[in-house]
Amino acid sequence: MTDPMIDGFRQTGRPCLATALVAAVCAALAGAAQGAPKPAKVTCASCHRAEAQSQPKTPMGIGIELPPNQQPLETHPKLTVEENGYHYSVERKNGVSSYTVSDASGTLTLPVRYAFGVDNLTFVLEYQGHFYESLVSYYKKIEGLGITMGDDKIRPHDLTEAMGRQTSDQEIKACFTCHGTGGVSQGKLTLDSLRPGLTCEHCHAGADAHMQALTGGKPAPIPRKLGEMAAEEMSNFCGQCHRTWETVVGLRLFGEKNVRFQPYRLANSQCFLGDDKRIRCTACHDPHVDLVREEASYDRACLSCHTVSQKTCPVANKNCVSCHMPKVEVAGTPAVFTDHQIRVVHPGEPYPQ
């Protein structure tokens, strides 16, 4: 797809419309600042109002629930579950949540500082200088606690192991990088400056410099237009957090648990063509707005390739995802995911790894 701004530049040989717009914005902002003690501060919302307003309310915009705002724990002030012979509870008192595991040998209680996720919450706990992923998580579907996804094979031998799985240095940095902003700086954890969720800069590298330059009334370099990416490149881009195809294959993360790694699943689809924009992540999902759950709303994306002139589905002409992207319940947990490996699903066939 061509960009009319770029085409305009190519055709006329004059500065493109984008540059002209930037200059106009700079002039307007500088003008607004004239006579004022400080220049007007430019934010993303100054120009991208709709995206800047809606994105912070999305799951990516929230990312982590930090105290005291840990919403599901506020509405469920006492959660308990028995797993592997241990008793777990997550209790909220006076605006503070704590995570407790106990057995006949004793009790271990830790504060819940980091609740990762939005509807489903996994707790990252600090204990004796190390970080742990809690062995039980909160699941919205059951409004209660269950074994954390991926940890169902763990059989704890003591209270510490029952409390959680110790994370590696690299893993914990990846957690905070993908769920928050400012938690990792120059390769080190900087949790004092952690803010929940992903800000614009996270995906739009250069956005902060862009805004600073504009605030100073100068022309600013424009961050890369991510809309130029086709499927393969975007899959790798989003996969930095949602796991790339290469990551899953390289680490041999096979089995139905990999259903939550959407870029990997999508890239396994027969219809995934890396140079095509019609099958890239944003063909279906706008990351600036909340996830759309109406199945019919995705038909438009399917029909952008599967037109009436091509071989079409013999069963239905709407709600394509209801058959071709089945829901998968991950064994051992109450979590359900949409399988992004688009395919003709045959009854009883095993999960394609």
Partner: protein
């Protein structure tokens, strides 16, 4: 025990054989009887005489070779299987035994080639295959094909082996020294062994021991070539910033270590710092032409800078040089996919999945 046979006894055996046997059929029958009766030296001599009378006797060469191997007579075994494979080149065990004998007699280049042919046959018994892969891994290391060698030695180590020859082989491989354990200078043996033991712990998932081992190695042998490369490689999976520092130290000590440059370039690619990665990748391919890792790193840098066609050429070169490396197939899948080469992307997708899921055993290195 058999080695302990006195020269007199052997001479007596040979004299008695020559005195009794005459025709091919008689020799063949007597050889089989001796073999079944576990009279191995006598059987070997009878088979030797029989194949001299009839050089096209495949079974004779086979038994001459296997009995010689069983009695550590590697030169005789090698000669027998050299003739055998001319008559029947489909037997993986024959190629493997030929290669193993050549390993013992010091003919390392043909040994590498013949062990590769043996492994390509895919019909070796698991316990034989393990031994063949171990020797193959040592020879790949000697040939400077460190990544391919590491895969073979690691597979052997994962089976629970930890004999000194394996540890030393792993150490030489890890330090990128193109030597067999028996060729390692005595003064470097301690560093090699410590590197090998730490590498073994890493391979089998004993990470605390591995980390401690690598730290001790760096502290004790900071000037030994390959030590910082090894520690940097280990750290690259968990602490990339520290890994980069170690790789830079290695390059200060040994600017010609192309793989250190290549690994550093890859870490910079993962940090999206393509402009810093480029000179390291370029230098790596210039320093070591036909190095799969260097080609791969350069290909990944070029992918990052959107130079798609040159990137594909580099990644194809890497895959050609080391077709058993999963990473190269995965990178090519992505590159073809971006380039709109859908059939090629699908093929690499399948190859990657087969390698990752074990449906395809690692193809021997070409």
């Amino acid at each position: 025990m058999l080695r302990a046979l006195s020269g007199t006894a052997v001479l007596w055996t040979i004299v008695s054989i020559v005195a009794h046997a005459a025709t091919f059929d008689e020799l063949a029958a007597e050889a089989a009887t001796a073999r079944r009766g576990n009279r191995i030296p006598e059987a070997i001599e009878l088979y030797r005489q029989a194949v001299q009378l009839r050089a096209s006797w495949v079974e004779g060469w086979w038994f001459l070779g296997t009995l010689s191997y069983a009695t550590y007579q590697y030169a005789g075994c090698e000669a027998a299987f050299d003739e055998f494979v001319k008559l029947d080149d489909k037997r993986a065990l024959a190629w493997s035994l030929l290669g193993l004998c050549e390993f013992e007699t010091g003919k390392y280049d043909p040994a590498l080639d013949h062990l590769r042919q043996g492994l390509a046959g895919k019909d070796l018994a698991p316990e034989v295959e393990a031994g063949v892969r171990f020797h193959y891994g040592l020879l790949l290391t000697r040939a400077g094909l460190f990544d391919a060698g590491n895969r073979e030695l690691a597979r052997y180590a994962r089976g629970g082996a930890h004999e000194p020859m394996l540890i030393q082989g792993l150490g030489l491989n890890a330090l990128h020294q193109s030597l067999l354990p028996k060729e390692a200078p005595a003064e470097s043996l301690d560093a090699v062994t410590k590197a090998g033991e730490a590498a073994r712990c890493w391979i089998v998932g004993e990470n605390e021991k591995a980390e401690a081992g690598f730290q001790d190695l760096v502290k004790e042998y900071p000037a030994v070539l390959g030590v910082h490369y090894l520690y940097g490689t280990y750290l690259s999976y968990s602490r990339p910033e520290d890994a980069m520092a170690e790789l830079r130290r290695e390059l200060e000590l040994n600017p010609g270590n192309a793989d250190a440059g290549a690994r550093l370039a890859l870490l910079l690619v993962h940090a999206n710092d393509f402009s810093s990665a480029l000179p390291y990748a370029k230098k790596a391919v210039a320093e070591r032409p036909n190095d799969a890792l260097a080609e791969y790193a350069y290909g990944e840098v070029l992918l990052g800078t959107e130079d798609l066609q040159p990137a594909i050429a580099r990644l194809e070169a890497a895959e050609r040089l080391d077709p058993a490396a999963l990473e190269y197939h995965m990178a090519l899948k992505g590159a073809y996919s971006r380039a709109g080469r859908h059939d090629d992307a699908r093929r690499e997708w399948r190859l990657s999945m087969d390698l990752a899921t074990g449906k395809t055993h690692d193809r021997p290195h070409d």
